[in-house]
Symmetry: none
Subunit: 239 residues, 2 copies
């Protein structure tokens, strides 16, 4: 089961390259072009290290041929101009709602991106199972097509990937944090705070650390700092 990225009647060769790069950034490999413009050098140049996606792009004359050929089970179109509830063919969900719902393991999914400028026709939109819109400023809602695509890819990747860069790092665990809070408590105890105030300071420090997504490495460095401070204050008192 696969996710296909489908560029319908691209007019600008360079945009095909940009799209390919965005695809590879988010682990998408299958590029489909429906009745595309002539692929010039800039299609390969803008693709940077995703040239092979452009080289391996499959070309179809019509959207229907592609949908039938690849046995697409879920057709998702993005529209920059979502209709109100009065315009049934254009009622969309948001990109993040789509990202949460999508399930590439079980489906052949086609992500449709329309012609630059004109977008997808109502007829094409009516063929789609899901319409997706990206919340944008009313003052200028029309995004460049590859920038819109990168956000769609990002929302899918975010939701289908279990690991983020930060998840790969050793996030401080409960015991680590207890030790850190204890070290803070030991220091504040020595600083002649009134009890209620010392308790406040400890809670506050604990909160800040909690909010900061502190990693294990950072925590160990912080603990080292607190130990040095604690020792210095101790020394002072011993004298």
């Amino acid at each position: 089961m696969t996710i296909y990225t489908v560029f319908v009647e691209p007019k600008t060769s360079g945009n095909i390259g940009f799209l390919a790069r965005c695809m590879k950034n988010f682990g998408l490999k299958k590029l489909i072009l429906i009745k595309p413009c002539k692929l010039k050098d800039d299609a390969y140049y803008q693709a940077m290290h995703a040239k092979e996606l452009v080289e391996n792009a499959q070309i179809y004359e019509t959207l229907d041929e592609f949908i039938e050929d690849k046995q697409i089970t879920q057709t998702i179109a993005t529209t920059g101009t979502p209709g109100g509830s009065y315009n049934i063919p254009r009622i969309p969900i948001t990109a993040s709602q789509m990202g949460e719902k999508i399930n590439p393991e079980k489906q052949n999914i086609a992500l449709l991106f329309g012609r630059e400028g004109d977008g997808l026709s109502n007829e094409e939109l009516e063929k789609c199972d899901t319409l997706v819109t990206i919340p944008t400023s009313e003052e200028y809602p029309i995004m460049n097509i590859t920038h819109a695509a990168s956000i769609i890819f990002y929302e899918i990747y975010k939701n289908t990937q279990k690991t983020y860069p930060i998840d790969d790092m050793d996030i401080a665990d409960y015991e680590d944090k207890q030790v850190l809070n204890q070290a803070i408590d030991e220091i504040t105890q020595k600083l002649d705070y009134p009890d209620y105030k010392q308790k406040q300071v400890n809670i506050l420090a604990k909160r800040i650390i909690g909010r900061a997504f502190i990693t294990g490495r950072e925590l160990r460095t912080m603990r080292g700092l607190l130990n040095r401070i604690n020792k210095r204050i101790e020394n002072k008192q011993e004298e």
Copy 2:
């Protein structure tokens, strides 16, 4: 209070235009250029209906001049190459974590985007309060700069459409943070760290505070704590 989009040493005039368009798509208006390349026609052409953002872009010679001039309280940099937990200056949070925490109503926020290709230098990254990374495929993690920017803008836009408990809080301002970082530096100077290590500890403390989106009240309490600690260590040395 404002969000500034800061393009550090752009090399390609067209990218400035693409960035301006992405900004306006997500309601951002203030474009800052640090030591930019010459602005050619394509900067205005690629901006499409965001030309005025390029025309009104403010240019600075250095990042420091801008940060001081605009009294920036939260400097957020995106990095395509997040360090592991071993690399303290490069520990990031994800774009969505940033979007959930950011509070433009109460802060002067700078979103930094580095030179095409090279990105931001370690020195520049060390100046930042928060590092943000976009989860991407390991096979090709390096995004085009304006596509990365559009995802950052999108996450901020998505989240600032709602209101947050933190909105009611007084966010620490520019001077407050300078004073706090100074207080931390004064303490670490006294703790017999090797220079490189002391610098690391300062950056780390600054980052944790940055990531925690600390409030003015919290900051004043922290400063009180640090002053007590600093005084104690001083006393010890005087004896």
